[in-house]
Symmetry: C2
Subunit: 233 residues, 2 copies
Amino acid sequence: MKTLKELQERIQISFKQEALLEQAFTHASYVNENRSKGSKHYERLEFLGDAVLELTVSDYLFNRFPERPEGQLTKLRAACVCEGALVVYAKELNLSDYFRIGRGEENAGGRTRDALVADIFEAFIGAMYLSEGIDCVRSFLGKVIFPKIDDGTFEANNDYKTLLQEWLQKDGDISISYEILSENGPAHDKAFQVRLVVNGEPQSIGEGRTKKTAEQSAAQAALASYQSQEKNS
Amino acid sequence: MKTLKELQERIQISFKQEALLEQAFTHASYVNENRSKGSKHYERLEFLGDAVLELTVSDYLFNRFPERPEGQLTKLRAACVCEGALVVYAKELNLSDYFRIGRGEENAGGRTRDALVADIFEAFIGAMYLSEGIDCVRSFLGKVIFPKIDDGTFEANNDYKTLLQEWLQKDGDISISYEILSENGPAHDKAFQVRLVVNGEPQSIGEGRTKKTAEQSAAQAALASYQSQEKNS
């Protein structure tokens, strides 16, 4: 098992309150098996870390996407802090290597169980917030989460066809259809071209190697165009 | 309708970015009916305010109740930021008086609809956070929410009998019963005394004007005693 000193050096943050860092990496099963040590487990830090993540991510999304409506921001935030995403962050940081768990939990594979790994990430953020403050958390997430937001990692969860439909239906029912304009090339290297038609009017054209990606591309282009029109109106 | 100047004087906070305050009190229906004004509606601020409330309340609970386990804190936080609670805060501050909504929404009673009133409170907090910073929000909530937490307003949602049961069952199954020791007085002024018995051992005594409040009181006393034992062990 690696030491928390090594972790702090690696992430270049030296915790003023190292006991909190230790607590963030201690599971209740370890506390129960080592009562004489009087350790604390991470659960209360996880409670706090959850809210710290919620705010720092919300704040980033709010400023990063000044034109996106609340519904899209809410979906994107959910994708950034869902268990699956937390597991990815925790694994990239190898947080499991520092986790103190009881023997029973260890034998049951607890160290790598998704729900626990996600918990450690939240507890770790909670400890960082208490020991170093929210600006330190923000700058840390600027390495761990925000670049993924910029790269569109979480947009895959956004479906432009659905987003477009939501956008257009704000003002009531509307008819949306996609027409295939062309389909070329051999089976392993197809190229599709589709046209988006809204209430009978052609709106945009999308291209892609499958019908689906071509439709998504047409929807994304139309959405961007509507949003920029609203912005400038 | 009252002016936002009046609101700022009353709460003794002068917004550096008054446009944000205005946005927090503007409904989408108003924006739609007054397109030429180019106003923005509150929804994005509500997205942000929701997360600001979550963190400031979590932080307060974390420090205020250093001995409470995560599960209890999570329940208490949910009670503090649920729609019903937000409506109470908003009404105490008369926030509806400042709300700009469209005519249709006004005629439909939107100004006093709970979901909208709760939204305004969150948007108002979002605007305060952006304009004045998190410390200002914290100090504002120190007048609006935190005293209610201290007064036990949200504890009514906590049921000590259930909390005690959860606490005791951490270490496996256990038998819990309440025995009536005495029942005195006339029908309109009863006094009950009950004894809590855990695994056959008497633990605590509670008194109350109904059997239920006497049981809650016994459970609360036992819970406090167990928690302080754990703290000192």
